[in-house]
């Protein structure tokens, strides 16, 4: 009950915005910019001919593959860099240079190396999500409190136990934060990547709808769907924060 009450102002604002949008388009009489209702009918059209699910499926598949590859690389690499001083000193400067390069800037190189198939956006997603996850994991290791490492040393546990029972669980909340950031960036990037070269995906849907006869109702439908799916992906990541073994770190869930 309380949650519904708290969501009410946001829903109200959303309704107001939609109403204002409708009013402006209706009064202004734009020939191209659609009304909210036209966006709804456009979406229904996409659902009817089945192309919406194809585009969503294609985008999610690319994000899924690229993001998983990034997790597989970033987590062990981040742990290693965090634990071994020399690895950090060697790799960190290179990562700090690569990290600020927008994934969009990689598009020409991705096309050169991987062509215009699925490999290009997957590569771009990998590149965009791997760095935030490496950085988060590494800093997670660096910020493990000394008292926990001392305790482990005190009990004289093996290196294996030290890693599996202390280091990794201590860093896990940070890894999850990195994954949330990484997945968010990945979702931003897949749409941009699909706008350039591909035949499917939500990014393609938007660009193609504009090019094929100014179907701005479908452009906006695509944008809204991207937003909703992004929200859903973040929600999935937040579920991870509810795990018993990481809840200690997130005070807001007490």
């Amino acid at each position: 009950m309380n949650r519904i009450a708290r969501a009410l102002p946001a829903l109200l604002l959303l309704s107001l915005l939609i109403a204002a949008w409708w009013l402006v388009v209706a009064v202004g009489g734009s020939a191209i910019f659609p009304t909210p209702w036209q966006v709804v009918t456009g979406t229904v059209e996409l659902i009817r001919d089945g192309s919406l699910w194809e585009h969503i499926g294609a985008s999610l598949m690319r994000v899924g593959v690229g993001f998983l590859l990034a997790v597989i690389v970033a987590v062990p690499l981040g742990l290693w860099m965090g634990w071994i001083r020399g690895a950090y000193d060697t790799l960190n400067p290179i990562f700090q240079i690569l990290r600020p390069i927008s994934p969009i800037a990689w598009i020409p190189i991705a096309i050169l190396w991987f062509g215009v198939g699925n490999a290009s956006p997957i590569y771009l997603i990998f590149i965009s999500s791997v760095f935030p996850m490496v950085v988060q994991t590494t800093s997670g290791v660096h910020t493990i409190e000394k008292r926990y490492l001392w305790a482990a040393e005190n009990f004289g546990v093996s290196r294996y136990t030290l890693f599996t029972r202390v280091v990794i669980p201590a860093v896990l909340p940070q890894i999850i934060v990195g994954m949330r950031i990484g997945l968010g960036v990945a979702w931003l990037v897949v749409v941009a990547a699909e706008m350039i070269a591909l035949r499917s995906g939500l990014g393609f849907l938007i660009i193609d709808s504009r090019n094929a006869g100014n179907r701005y109702d479908l452009v906006i439908a695509g944008m809204i769907i991207i937003g909703l799916i992004g929200l859903m992906l973040d929600g999935l990541m937040r579920l991870l924060e509810g795990l018993k073994t990481v809840r200690w770190r997130y005070a807001h869930q007490d």
Binding site: R147, A152, E153, N154, A170, V246, D254
Partner: protein, 250 residues
Amino acid sequence: MRTKIELKNVRKGFGTNGGQLRVVEDVSFSVGEGEFVAIVGPSGCGKSTLMSIVAGFIRADSGSVLVDGVERMRPDSRGILISQLGSVFPWLSVQQNLMFGLDGKSHAENADLADHYADIVGLKGFENSYPHELSGGMLKRVELARALVVKPEILYMDEPFSALDALMNLRMRGELRRILAEERHTVLLITHDVEEAIHLADRVLVLSPRPATVQAKYEVKIPHPRKLTSPEMQELRVAILKELGVDRSE
């Protein structure tokens, strides 16, 4: 009494911008087997540094720390450090924390042992709770139980109850004495609380302000359980406070 821990001329300094900061200056004392020695000193006098050296986590610049006559080079599970902030792993349940230092035998046997010690410190029913679900006093019990479960010979306690409120502090002292009556550990306690020191210890060493040296020693020959309000205890308390430069009339 056999000597368990012996410090010989331990010195430690840290490099700072302004040169060398001497923290521990020529500290020598010994602790007998099964003895409870408390070290009191003003805040920031180098007590914690001294404890880290005795427990083996940092090396002294010179001098030596002998445990059972052998030089202590690094920490091990024969002597467990319990510190003010505590080091109960927040990502493990109470039972998993207690089992952390146990390596031998089967999982079931370890779990039984862990539950036994959870029971001893009054944590029965909380074995599967996570630390963030527990109060400060409960966390201290977890910490104590996790130390006891590996059957250490020595407990190094660095301001163990300072973060607790006065009532819980008093209760934990009682618990500790009760446990020590059953399992004879050698205990080295560091505290700024004179009352806590004379309440618990067989002997009290007073440290000087930094750089820390042993300034005075007191035997506490009053049998347990001790009454804090008894005249002898009060007398001792005043004497130690005076040694620390705190006059009661102030």
